[in-house]
Each structure stands twice: as C-alpha cells, then as structure tokens.
Symmetry: C2
Subunit: 212 residues, 2 copies
DNA sequence: GTCGTAATTATGCAAGTGTATAATTTTAGC
DNA sequence: GCTAAAATTATACACTTGCATAATTACGAC
C-alpha cells in the first residue's frame, strides 16, 4: 500500500566515478571547462551535486580525472587496429592512418574536448604531462611505422629525415582529424581516410592506396 | 598647489573599442571565453567595468566583436604576402604556405583563441557564419593557387581531384600550424614552413623547395 | 529483523558573475 | 570661463559558482 519508492540507488564506486566522468566530458565538450559546472554535471549524471565531492576532492580533481580518462581512451582507439594486425609494416601503417581518420576517433566531441582542454593543458603542469606523453606516444608509433614500411620497401632513411616525415604525416592526420570533426558534414564517410592515405603516401614516397 | 590629477582620460571611441577588444582577446586566449570576465577585461584595459557596457550592449556582443576582429586580422596576415607578389603562380603558392606557417600566423595565442572560440563557434549561428566564411575563403584561395601552379606546369586537373588536393594541403597546413602553436619549442624557426612546402609539394606533385 | 556504516541528499555560505542605474568627471563649443 | 553632453566611474542587485557541513537514506553484516 505504502508507496515504497526508493529515493536513490547505491552504485559501485567504479560505476559512479565513470558516470560522473562521462557527464563531465559531455559538458566540457559542449560548454568548455568553466561551462561544465558542478551542478550541471550532477544533473547530467542524475545525481545531486554533493555526491561529486564524495568521489572527487574538488572540481579540479574531477576535470583532471576526466581528461586522463579521455586521453587513455583515445590512445586505445588508435593503438588497437595497427597492433593487432599481422600483415606487413605497410599494412599496419595503412591501418593506423585509417583508424585515426575514421569514427570513433574522428568525432565532433573529441575535437570539442581537445579544444576545451587546451587552455588547462598549457597552464596546469599535471595536464601538460598527460598531454605530452600521449602526443609523443602517437608520433613515435607513427614514426616507427613509417620507418618499418620504408625499410620493407628497401629504403634506408636517416634519423633527421625520418623525424620530418613523421612530423609532416602527423600534421596531415591532425589537420584532417580536426577538419573532419569540426565540419562533419563537409566530407563523405570514407573521404578523409582516402585523402589521408594519398597524402601520407605522397609525403613518405610510398603508394598506400592499392591493396598489397 | 592643488593636486589636479585627472582621474581618467577620454579616448576616441575607436581606440577604446580596440583596447577593449584586445584585452578581451588576451583573456579569452588565457582563460577561455567564460574565464574572460567583464571585470578582468576592464582591469586589463585599465578601465572600470561599467565602461564596457557603454561600448558593447552585452558581454556576448563584445565577444562576437572580438572574434570578428581576430578573424579579419588573421585573414589579412595570410592574404597579403601571396597577393602582393608579382611572380609565378608557383611563387605565390610558396609564399602562401610560408606565410601560413611562420609567425605571426603561427603563434600560441592564435591557437589558444581558436580553441577557446570553438565551442561558441559551433553553437552560436552568428559566430558560425563568421567562421565558415573565413574558412571557405582560406581554402578557396589555396585551391586557386594550386590550380594555377599546376596549370603553369602544363597539368590539367579535374575539379574533384583539385578539391581533394586542396583539402589535403589545407589539412597539412592546419596540422602544422596547430602543432607549431601548441608546442612552440618543438620546432626550429624555419622547420615548419620547410616541412610544409615539402609536404604540399609532395601532395600536389610539384617541387616547391628549390628556387625557381 | 535491526543496526551501523557508507552513500546520497539537503541546505547553507561566501565569493564571483553579468547587468542595470545613478553619480561623477572630462572635454568640446560657445 | 561656462555649460551641456558624452565618457567614465561608482554602486547596487539578482543570480550562479564551488565548496562545506549537516541531515537522510539504502543496504550488507550479524
């Protein structure tokens, strides 16, 4: 008879933390770090604001945790396809470029997050460290793949030249990633990876478009 | 005898507007749009906060004005070098790429501004219009330069192919611009334009590095 | 069942926010 | 010099912000 409706449900610490982090990322992407208010995050996660303080010592702490969570997620997304592949180095390079220029890596929210976090990344040393590590990791993997693919084709490339190639290829990928996420309707679904492969191929001097 | 120190000085409307806009851009670059508070802007411009309302109907109005000011400024910086040049189309393409990848276009504050404004650009229609116009303008100029340079070399390129080349070159330039501004210490002074010219050249199929 | 503890909510507070309006001060025109 | 209008400052207000603390609620251990 009595309406015994529960007022809330207890969740595991891990689930709650993740829910709060995801709500945070959504709001940061939409309104920037300062626009992601504690109350807004709580509402998005279907929770009252006080709970945030129970899982994170401050908003700063929550933001940092969310940033780390997101960066780790992105790294995983670009790492998996190329490393799981058993084919030639060229195939792995192709897979790496394609993964970097397709959903879910290419995604409006990711670009928005990147932009929203930039300020904080440049000021906060803790965030700067996370960023530098992730960025260097990405470029090193790209450079290694380029070196392997070139070696496979019988070409030897000196270190300085290799660095330039990696910087240039990284730049094309970044630029295409950016444009694809910032202007989602400006490109056909497979246009981005196609342009990416042609461009990276042109820069390093390999044809990456035909099937091997 | 009497200390007749003036409490403030009247400035021309144009000078005050520009001072307020510059202060706004500085703070937006440092702390994001929401972090650029009315009081902070006023202080940076050596003025009390009430004055802002005298020149701009709201903070929103000031932000929009600042964005338009900045975008116009950036367009001017990339437009001037290539259009003033009397040489071949290839020379103008080279000048365009170089100008886009050198200071003052490559500049930490510009990247920070780009990132800070992204949210607002994607939500606010007025800002979106300003952005779309500027972006299309940049890419059209690049595409025209590529077409002219290729034509000069005796190559005819179909429209679709030309579009892809422009997108790809735009992406390298954007990517390099971004990395140069986000990690100012990671590159030698002339490393960025050098890589840019090699990459754009490789993509379109022209050697842009030797002097013509 | 009941009970204690931890999760969750509820409430409150001081500081910062944009904006509105009134009070001053400068400066140009006569 | 005087004066009036415009530029600038000064003050106030309602609202949002992050954070702290107290009051509830759920749920496993016994």
């Amino acid at each position: 008879m009595a309406e015994e409706r529960r007022k809330f449900k207890r969740e595991s610490a891990q689930a709650r933390r993740e829910a709060l982090i995801c709500a945070t990322l959504e709001l940061v992407a939409e309104h920037g770090v300062r626009g992601a208010t504690v109350r807004g995050i709580a509402e998005r996660a279907d929770v009252t604001q006080g709970l945030i303080r129970h899982y994170f010592s401050s908003k700063e702490d929550l933001i940092t945790a969310a940033y780390e969570y997101h960066m780790t997620h992105m790294t995983d997304l670009t790492e998996a396809p190329a490393s799981q592949l058993q084919g030639t180095a060229r195939d792995r390079l192709v897979a790496f470029v394609e993964a970097s220029l397709t959903a879910p890596v290419v995604d409006p929210q990711s670009i928005a997050l990147w932009a929203s976090f930039l300020n904080k990344v440049q000021n906060d040393p803790a965030m700067k460290a996370i960023h530098a590590r992730t960025y260097a990791d990405f470029r090193d993997r790209l450079e290694a793949l380029i070196a392997a693919a070139l070696g496979e084709a019988g070409q030897v490339t000196e270190a300085g030249q290799l660095r330039h190639l990696a910087i240039a290829c990284n730049a094309v990928i970044d630029g295409l990633w950016l444009e694809g996420g910032a202007l989602p309707d400006a490109f056909e679904p497979d246009e981005l990876p196609k342009i990416g492969l042609i461009s990276v191929g042109a820069i390093v001097g390999l044809n990456l478009t035909h099937s091997s």
